[in-house]
């Protein structure tokens, strides 16, 4: 390619306290190119794109846009240059309408003239249907992403940055997105595509820049490499084989039963649960797949007892009606729960690990004596968690917030697994966790099921669901599908269910 690059970054440095997020990063994007930016969590991808979009300023380095040196001052400046961005955690306003949301991304008053009609025109011409008058909180994640893309397209961008766009989409929605992106590239808009899904990148992108620990470690053409080769460049440690598949357990008594569980959402942006029915036997792992915001949070709260289900018989823990019991009573019955959000929900970030261990473990772990904290036993118990799960920390007295995400997650899962639960419910067990820690967490879950516990995993990560589960169910719009054995589940079938489509009965 001899033409002037659209964007050339050289020597970009960004230092955060205690972490060099970008260490002399170079990146070159050609016109019409779909360029992948690959790397693990924490490799510095997000920092780099925020620099390109003007959200943060680099400490050093040079930015050349269409052959001219620029210092991108702000997102508004980036948009004026022709850079648009679709965020991973959407930058949308839930209480506002689609048209209002789009208007907020347009700085020039003249861009907002006749906005409703232009939204309809652009969305029709790119096959991205959006209704300008609907309120965002009513919309699915896929629809929300379309709004962000339409918002960018209204400004005729020359570069569109997409931050992990498919992590929230069904496989079918992802295909539609790829078609749109290919068309945009053909029409002259370059795309910077951030992902850690290697197959996707190989199918879509013409060039790739791979980052690891803040540095660029390779610039290559992804089609020339296998997914495994790309992974080994991206991940520092050699990948260990995943946990062994176990034979499906023999029929055992159900330890967790949900009986037509209905729950009206208290939050107007929430999802109501409708007649959720599920039975999980001892030794079994049931995976619940689904796109974020389809009732997973509400289901987790209903299972853990943070929201009471009302009628006692709707939830049975080891055949004991528990729908009316709070979290403490359910823990007494042998239920253990790991919520999705580590900070502030799973752990009190400003307290020590020992204190955090006490909070959930004092009943089953017998860490209290005469109503007082037994410091020695709590300390021992915490030390055993740290040792068994290889939690990298300075010791039981370290505060929870001093741990990295992966280490804290290992600790929180370990804290519950050590209690030898009858029923374990985990939401997003390895979200934002590096490959090594994910493996350790998966092994712990499998071992627990092998020991006879009933395990429910609520996850958006389909690879994880397929890897661990004996049976898979899908939650969509607050309804849970009939669980199918993993051997009968195909990616396509699960994908359709995630999109709220009930597949034709068994035509496999």
């Amino acid at each position: 390619m001899t033409q002037t690059p659209l964007l050339r970054l050289s020597g970009i440095v960004k230092q955060y306290p205690g972490c060099l997020a970008n260490d002399h990063v170079d990146l070159t994007i050609a016109p019409n190119q779909i360029h992948a930016l690959l790397g693990e969590n924490g490799a510095g991808k997000s920092t780099l794109v925020k620099i390109i979009y003007g959200v943060i300023r680099p400490d050093a380095g040079e930015t050349v846009w269409q052959g001219r040196r620029v210092v991108i001052q702000s997102p508004a400046h980036a948009r004026r240059l022709g850079i648009g961005m679709v965020f991973q955690h959407f930058s949308l306003f839930e209480a506002l309408t689609v048209a209002d949301n789009i208007a907020l991304g347009l700085n020039d008053a003249k861009d907002r003239v006749g906005l409703r009609q232009r939204i309809i025109d652009v969305s029709a011409s790119y096959g991205l249907p959006v209704d300008p008058d609907r309120t965002v909180h009513d919309l699915s994640v896929g629809e929300r992403q379309r709004i962000e893309i339409v918002r960018c397209l209204l400004q005729n961008p020359k570069l569109l940055i997409m931050d992990e766009p498919t992590s929230v989409l069904t496989p079918q929605e992802a295909e539609t997105l790829f078609a749109t992106l290919r068309r945009l590239a053909a029409e002259g808009c370059s795309i910077l595509y951030i992902s850690h899904k290697l197959d996707e990148v190989r199918a879509l992108c013409e060039a790739a820049t791979i980052m690891r620990l803040g540095r660029v470690v390779a610039q290559l053409t992804p089609r020339d490499k296998t997914a495994r080769e790309l992974a080994s460049i991206m991940i520092s440690a050699e990948l260990k084989p995943a946990a062994e598949r176990r034979p499906p357990p023999a029929a055992a008594a159900p330890r967790l039963v949900l009986n037509r569980l209905n729950l009206r959402a208290t939050n107007p942006f929430g999802t109501s649960l409708q007649a959720i029915t599920l039975s999980v036997a001892g030794g079994e792992i049931v995976g619940i797949a689904g796109i974020a915001g389809n009732g997973q949070g509400e289901l987790m709260d209903a299972l853990s007892g943070e929201t009471l289900a009302g009628k006692p018989e709707t939830i049975l823990l080891d055949a004991v009606p528990a729908g009316h019991l709070g979290p403490k009573e359910r823990r007494r019955l042998g239920g253990c729960f790991v919520p999705e959000e580590r900070n502030g929900h799973g752990a009190v970030t400003t307290m020590s690990l020992a204190e955090n261990a006490f909070l959930s473990g004092h009943l089953r772990g017998a860490l209290a004596r005469l109503g007082l904290i037994d410091r020695r036993r709590t300390q021992d118990y915490t030390a055993r968690i740290i040792q068994r799960f290889d939690v990298r920390t300075t010791g039981p007295q370290a505060t929870a917030k001093s741990l990295s995400g992966g280490n804290l997650q290992k600790f929180l899962v370990g804290r519950e697994v050590m209690l030898d639960p009858a029923v374990l419910v985990i939401s997003q067990p390895t979200w934002g966790v590096d490959a090594g820690a994910a493996l350790a967490i998966h092994e712990a879950i499998v071992a627990l099921a092998a020991a006879g516990a009933a395990v429910v995993i609520i996850s958006q990560d389909l690879d994880e669901i397929f890897l661990l589960s004996d049976r898979i169910a899908v939650i969509a719009a607050g309804r849970l599908s009939e669980p199918v054995p993993v051997a009968d589940a195909t990616l396509e079938r699960i994908g359709l269910l995630m999109g709220g489509v009930s597949p034709e009965p068994a035509h496999v």
Partner: protein
């Protein structure tokens, strides 16, 4: 009977005005997701600043400017503490009220029991002299009309203008607004200052029109009622008006019953407007879903730009 009705309506309009002014200001502040509990303190500062300037200069218009300035000065202190220095908004707001009460009492010590010029009443020849309509519609001081006009402008600003949309967006999701490039802190400063100006004006309405004299603690909890109005109106301007009028009606009712000599303890009657307004507002705003829908999602949460 007609007289009672006319008196009732006039009393409602007059008693509602300071509440409406202060609540309109706080509505804008809270729409930007800042919770300033210092309304009572800012009203007291506005009341004494307005009264003192009116007494010293004889000009009620200068007095109103002084009241606005006093309210803004105190709200600027709040903004620096909570927005720039990230202090806790609840604690800072309470401190602001305590400071306002003490400082206004200190400044006002020499002004107790003396007179100052009052705000003039509207007099439109022909209209004001009309029977019934005259006293009910065309006989108030200018702040009564200003309060209604400002409320209407604020409602229009929030619902229809792009700047109002940005303000609501910042209250709904400040991080998203930040990555789109909006200056969250700067916009919140402006909202807090507007709230301070309105609270100052509300205080001046008390000391120059409603009960035209200065007495220590003369706001008597109206700042708190204004705060409650904003919440129970579920951040909707029209319901602010209903709530303020309701308070005015209750005020008249309690005075009327006292005048009749009904054997009810006077302390209870004085408390009635506050109690009654809050109870009625709670009853009409029981729908939690609606409240959450209109409530600025980031209310009271500090914002820090971190990339």
């Amino acid at each position: 009977m007609m007289d009672i009705a006319i008196n009732l309506l006039a009393s409602i309009m007059l008693a509602a005005t300071p509440l409406l002014l202060a609540a309109t200001g706080e509505l804008v502040v809270e729409k930007a997701a800042v919770l300033n509990l210092g309304v009572e303190g800012m009203m007291l500062m506005g009341a004494i600043a307005g009264f003192a300037v009116a007494h010293e200069t004889g000009s009620v218009w200068l007095a109103l400017l002084a009241a606005i300035g006093a309210g803004m000065a105190l709200s600027l202190l709040f903004a620096v503490l909570t927005l720039t220095l990230q202090a806790n908004q609840t604690a800072t707001g309470l401190a602001l009220t305590i400071f306002g009460r003490g400082f206004s009492a200190l400044v006002g010590a020499g002004y107790v029991g003396i007179a100052a010029p009052e705000l003039p009443k509207l007099h439109l020849p022909g209209l004001t002299d009309l029977p019934v309509l005259g006293p009910v519609l065309f006989s108030y001081d200018p702040l009564v009309y200003a309060a209604l006009l400002i409320l209407a402008l604020v409602a229009w600003f929030l619902a229809k203008t792009h700047a109002g949309l940005i303000l609501r967006a910042i209250g709904d999701q400040h991080d998203a607004a930040h990555v789109l490039g909006y200056k969250v802190i700067r916009i919140r400063y402006l909202a807090v200052l507007f709230g301070g100006a309105m609270a100052g004006l509300a205080g001046a309405d008390m000391s120059l029109a409603y009960t035209p004299l200065w007495a220590q603690d003369m706001i008597a909890g109206r700042g708190w009622v204004a705060l409650a109005l904003v919440t129970f109106a579920a951040w909707r301007p029209f319901w602010l008006l209903i709530g303020a009028w309701l308070f005015g009606a209750m005020m008249y009712l309690s005075l009327y019953v006292q005048g009749l000599g009904v054997p009810v303890p006077q302390a209870f009657l004085s408390a009635l407007p506050y109690l009654g307004t809050v109870v009625v507002l709670v009853l009409i705003s029981r729908d939690r879903r609606r409240i959450r829908l209109h409530r600025p999602a980031m209310l009271g949460r500090p914002f820090q730009a971190n990339g």
